[in-house]
């Protein structure tokens, strides 16, 4: 649980800070230069996505948008069932997001609201499991998926992670800080079952936290590469990162088409981030720091 610091921790600026306009200007200059450095590859990706192969391989390089977008789109779709790949990614990410939101909020609710035997030990177990490097179990994971007959099936990618330790931890923190325990008793007096309390009382209260978890899960699933690389084998079933890898792996890579695919793969993340950057950043930091 986050303990409130009693002392004043508002961002503090020296009263002297404003007095040196040259220094402040130089500081902004450095900060903006760094921001340009991080943003440029994104811009560059969109620019190249609109150019032909010959324009991409020219000196000086094109710095503004070109007119080859449609042709690149055709080239992309000639090489891959790209719309299908996008749909696969959306489907897997949505399944992962919905199931994770449900099971993790349920588990987090239980850990935050109830007292039960072995709760401490069980919660410690959840936290410890976060420390295991995922690569350690990667081969047996493949074998289990094979044993279940789930090779080349989307569920191999969202099912195992439905109740993630990270999500349970995040939800427990959120429920504990936003839901008073009196509500539990009040609902019980009204005759609500425990699941009913979770569903009708807790869920509406923790909606913002749930949204954060949902976005983080969506992003994580959308970007996952190693998982599909191991268990998905047919092009029809590829999610986007795997599809991009096929484009790039060719001898004569069509860069315009490849970068168009890349741009389309990044676009949903950019939209989420523009709409909710604070929530995404705070969620990721809260999940990793509050331990």
């Amino acid at each position: 649980m986050a303990t409130r610091v009693v002392t004043d921790t508002r961002p503090w600026r020296s009263p002297r800070a404003g007095r040196n306009p040259v220094g402040t200007f130089l500081l902004y200059l450095v900060l903006c230069a760094l921001a340009l450095l991080t943003l440029f590859p994104f811009y560059w990706m969109f620019v190249l996505a609109t150019h032909s192969q010959s324009a991409i391989f020219s000196a000086p390089p094109p710095l503004w948008f070109g007119s080859n977008l449609e042709h690149n789109m055709e080239a992309l779709r000639a090489q891959l069932p790209f719309l299908r790949n996008i749909w696969n990614s959306i489907y897997i990410a949505l399944m992962a997001t919905v199931t994770t939101m449900f099971f993790c909020s349920l588990g987090g609710f239980a850990f935050a609201m109830y007292d039960f035997r072995f709760k401490k030990q069980l919660f410690a177990f959840v936290i410890t499991s976060l420390l295991i490097p995922p690569l350690l179990g990667i081969i047996p994971y493949y074998l289990i998926i094979q044993f279940l007959g789930w090779l080349d099936q989307p569920r191999a990618l969202w099912f195992p992670g439905m109740a993630s330790a990270f999500g349970i931890f995040l939800m427990r923190q959120y429920v504990a800080s936003s839901m008073p325990r009196d509500l539990l008793d009040a609902a019980r007096i009204d005759g609500a079952s425990e699941f009913r309390i979770y569903w009708s009382v807790a869920l509406p209260i923790i909606r913002p936290g749930l949204a954060t978890l949902g976005m983080l899960t969506f992003i994580g699933s959308w970007n996952n590469f190693l998982g599909p690389l191991i268990v998905i084998s047919s092009r029809e079933k590829y999610p986007i990162p795997l599809a991009l890898r096929t484009l790039q792996g060719q001898i004569q890579t069509e860069w315009g088409a490849t970068l168009l695919g890349t741009a389309l793969a990044v676009l949903p993340l950019l939209i989420i981030f523009v709409l909710a950057s604070r929530q995404v950043i705070e969620g990721l930091v809260a999940g990793s720091v509050k331990g």
Partner: protein, 330 residues
Amino acid sequence: MAQSASAAASPRLPWSTRLDKLQRRVAPYLFISPFFILFAIFGLFPIVFSMYLSLQVWNPIQGLGTMRYVGLENYVWLMDDPWFWRSITNTLWIAFASGLPQHLVAIPLAFALSRGIRRFRHPLTAAYFLPFITSAVAIAIVFQTIFGTQFGILNQALMYLANAPWSAWLFGGLADGLPVNWLGRAPNIKPAISILVWWQFFGFNVVLYAAGLATIPRDYYEAAEIDGASVAQSFFHITLPLLRPMIFFAVTLTIIGNLQLFDQPFILTGGTGGTGQAGMTVAMYLYRTAFEWLEMGTAAAISWLLFLLIGTLTLTHFYFFGRSGLETRG
């Protein structure tokens, strides 16, 4: 709990009430059970099984029956395997070359963002953070074009700087080495990967350190200011010592993450590890051993050795910096 005590005292309650008490008692266990069931199948079992597998020789194509117990042979073989050692040194090289600069840039940057400026704090932070949430595959593909030898924009920019009259005095010395074959020549592959990894993750650390800075009471800075301390002095004597627990934590995350690097080197080197395997990390070697060469036993042994490496480095880090970090907190 009070409820279970009263249930024991009056055993002849109507069925519906007893059922209600029961669902109350089992509800929390039911609610947390999905995690434990899934973890048992997809988390715990794989770990135990990979330990078992690392003591076997097995090609999965031939079926489970062909598994053969060989004791520690896989581990012994790896100790003599030059590719394994190369992948270890590659991983450590990249982890260090991309990891250290992340923190050296992120700490002063977080300090500047939270103490030095008044406006645009969030947009700037968000810009630095953006690469962290972007697909590593997508980023690596974009960087592949940026790193292109003849027409990559990085080389073109460097060539311009080396030849333009206004900048030649500073960059002219580079001219002989240009254009740089970033991804084709063995000695350049690790720096190229490190640049990409640095670029992708320094913003995450900026955000972590900003969160750490927000817990430092402002009275400390005010007191230092009254005593006539300069900005640099308060950075070194207040910020850094109080940020130590966060530095410890952030560096731990970097160690664990960087040692498992896979997506970025895999894409940048086209899945092969590049010329002379100069860009092949342990995670890549593990993947290729298991899924290209189908040596499941050896691959499982690699995964345990990697785990050992991560554990050793994390504990070493904890031994040298963890305790002092905790002291300052107390």
